[in-house]
């Protein structure tokens, strides 16, 4: 199972889906595009655990984290 984690007011919201299910995969891709289009950054972790920003939906990613656009505080 793959997971998309979206940072929000509740800490985060998680969407888990079966990457082998074409319909679920399409929905995950739609969510990815909607979030990145709204300014969220998508990040995954490499095999060694280091974060990597991704701008394209990766259907093989086990975990994708989304956080809102960063601004000066």
């Amino acid at each position: 199972m793959a997971t998309q984690i979206i940072m929000d007011h509740n800490g985060d919201t998680r969407h888990t889906f079966d990457a082998k299910d074409a319909k679920a995969l399409l929905e995950a891709e739609r969510r990815f595009k909607a979030l990145t289009g709204a300014g969220f950054t998508a990040a995954t972790r490499t095999a060694s655990g280091e974060p990597a920003v991704t701008r394209r939906f990766d259907p093989t990613a086990e975990e994708t984290l989304f956080f809102p656009r960063l601004v000066g505080g």
Binding site: H9, A43, L70, V71, G73
Partner: protein, 135 residues
């Protein structure tokens, strides 16, 4: 007669006590709710920290990251604003950087977003940031 009244009063007192306990539990759950959200953010942060960063955070409530472009070391303190400091070669605070997600998030989420930004797009993060003199 007196004993009967005493038993009735005792029953009423127990019901009142049960109602008060119920209210107290409801208040406790409501009061603790933000803390549960804070904890959720910290759990997510800890999942993404390296072993060294996690050990540092557990010991000091801050962790260091290396900027991907300059190789400069930054210290991210626990917090959700004005909590990032660039360190000198001698590990002394040099410049403070303030950049946060443009949505109100708990500290764990903010620190994780800052870590990922510095480790993957240091220049982009600093371009959005305001700087300040660290104390």
């Amino acid at each position: 007669m007196f004993v009967t009244r005493l038993q009735v009063a005792n029953g009423q007192f127990r019901r009142l006590l049960a109602a008060c306990l119920h209210l107290a539990r409801a208040f406790r759950d409501w009061y603790l709710r933000p803390n549960a959200i804070e904890q959720r953010g910290l759990d997510l942060l800890k999942e993404w920290l390296s072993q060294e960063q996690l050990a540092q955070y557990d010991a000091h409530k801050y962790f260091d990251v290396i900027g991907c472009h300059t190789g400069r070391r930054y210290r991210i303190h626990h917090g959700n604003g004005a909590n990032v400091v660039a360190l000198s070669d001698a590990a002394l605070p040099r410049t403070g950087w303030c950049f946060v997600p443009n949505d109100h998030l708990v500290a764990g989420d903010v620190m994780l977003a800052q870590k990922i930004a510095l480790e993957t797009d240091e220049r982009g993060a600093l371009a959005a940031a305001n700087n300040f003199m660290p104390r």
